[in-house]
């Protein structure tokens, strides 16, 4: 229900971040996530809704082992 794109914060001024998506810059409100320049963030309708954690590969591995346990239960 909500298109959201991942981008990188390149500037922050007065709680408004400039976010770079492969060379496209838009302004995004940083009112509900504490972000710093360089953070990867998820933006929906001009609002940063979350920081993107970079450790997904490891997390996915853990998930699958959980899935194995649950599925067999």
């Amino acid at each position: 229900m909500c298109v959201a794109a991942p981008g990188r914060v390149v500037e922050i001024k007065d709680n408004i971040a400039t976010v770079d998506y492969s060379g496209n810059l838009t302004k995004a409100n940083a009112g509900v996530v504490n972000v710093a320049v360089g953070d990867y963030v998820l933006v929906h309708a001009g609002l940063i809704i979350q920081k993107i954690s970079q450790s997904e590969a490891k997390e996915m591995e853990e998930l699958f082992s959980m899935l194995e346990e649950m599925g067999n239960a």
Binding site: M1, N29, S53, M60, E61
Partner: protein, 345 residues
């Protein structure tokens, strides 16, 4: 951990008990189509689309009020692109614009603040639709309006929340064996909400991302999980607790209300409206419940709630096509009917 090819093979050759998986979120519906996923699944795995496209669930009286506002002198309606073509009981915002109404389409609702500042003598109204993901945007706009000098911005809200709608769908006639939980709603609510719902409804939930591989993996998990179990498979942005800061802002300015869903009627406690003390920013959202459909035979409500597949609607593909949409599910690029029609799903 199985690799993607093993997952693909498994899903194509799946021969266990029949699975009916609902993707609640419209962006999931769109991504499933774009990636050509239905063709990759065994006939024993059915995907059905849920009530998670804000445009599709918006009732006719809301659109009617928007078109009326767009045609009011000195008033501009500001909206997301998707809302432009949805018909109310008679016309769409696009039709209103053709009649000389003032409608502006934006990427970010925050743009309304700049428009209003540059045109202080004109009234701007944002067509504030959305779910948990989008509501924080409107909360921040209200916050800006309270702290600044801009006086000429108001909201017409049709804000919905997922849990009650999911409960309604789960109680319906269609036996759903698993839910793909809406990924970006989960960013705000946290995976905990769907973990709790899985237990309550005794149906497995998987919170999923939007890439093709992520969706296949989530579907794979839903064929394995048992009732009451859940997994967060979108951990890069979805935490257990979600975005508390965003929820705090929403709770500050909005309160729960009963909300009308297109074709599904009024569902208790399934929406949000501005609190009384902020009513000055609202242009009469609460009373917009009537759902007089443009075409009385339209089965959007049954489609949204998973009771009927799109081709179960008598209008599908004949009277109702993307060129001549009779209901919102055919208009929206996230609508189930649009995707079934354009992709032969």
């Amino acid at each position: 951990m199985p690799d993607l090819n093993e997952i693909k093979e498994y899903l194509k050759g799946y021969d266990g008990e029949e699975k009916v998986i609902m993707e609640v979120c419209g962006t999931h519906t769109a991504s499933i189509s774009e990636n050509g996923i239905p063709a990759m699944l065994s006939p024993k795995i059915k995907l059905i689309s849920g009530p998670g496209c804000p445009v599709c669930v918006t009732v006719a009286s809301y659109i009617d009020r928007l078109t009326e506002l767009a045609l009011t002198p000195n008033t501009t309606v500001v909206t997301f692109g998707d809302m432009m073509r949805v018909k109310g009981s008679e016309k769409s915002l696009r039709d209103a614009a053709a009649e000389g109404g003032s409608v502006k389409m934006v990427y970010s609702p925050f743009e309304i603040l700049d428009m209003a500042r540059d045109n202080p003598d004109r009234q701007f109204v944002f067509a504030a639709v959305g779910f948990e993901t989008t509501t924080p945007v409107y909360a921040l706009i209200v916050e800006r309006l309270l702290s600044g000098d801009t006086k000429n911005v108001k909201l017409l809200t049709a804000l919905k929340t997922m849990p009650q709608a999911i409960r309604t769908v789960a109680d319906g006639d269609t036996k759903i064996t698993g839910f793909l939980a809406p990924g970006h709603v989960s960013v705000i609510t946290g995976h905990k909400l769907f973990e709790d719902m899985a237990k309550e409804l005794n149906i497995p939930f998987v919170t999923a991302g939007f890439g093709g591989a992520e969706l296949l993996t989530a579907i794979y998990a839903l064929t394995k999980l048992n009732g009451g179990e859940s997994l967060n498979m979108y951990p890069s942005v979805v935490t257990y607790e979600g975005n508390a800061q965003a929820r705090e802002k929403v709770n500050k300015y909005f309160e729960p209300c009963d909300a009308a869903w297109r074709g599904m009627g009024v569902i208790k406690n399934s929406g949000l409206v501005l609190k009384k003390e902020y009513a000055q920013f609202d242009v009469g959202s609460a009373e917009l419940c009537a759902d007089k459909m443009y075409n009385g035979a339209c089965a959007c409500g049954d489609v949204i709630s998973g009771k009927k597949p799109p081709h179960g609607c008598p209008l599908f593909g004949t009277v109702c096509t993307p060129d001549t949409p009779q209901g919102a599910c055919m208009v929206s690029m996230e609508g189930a009917c649009f995707h079934y029609y354009t992709n032969n799903r």
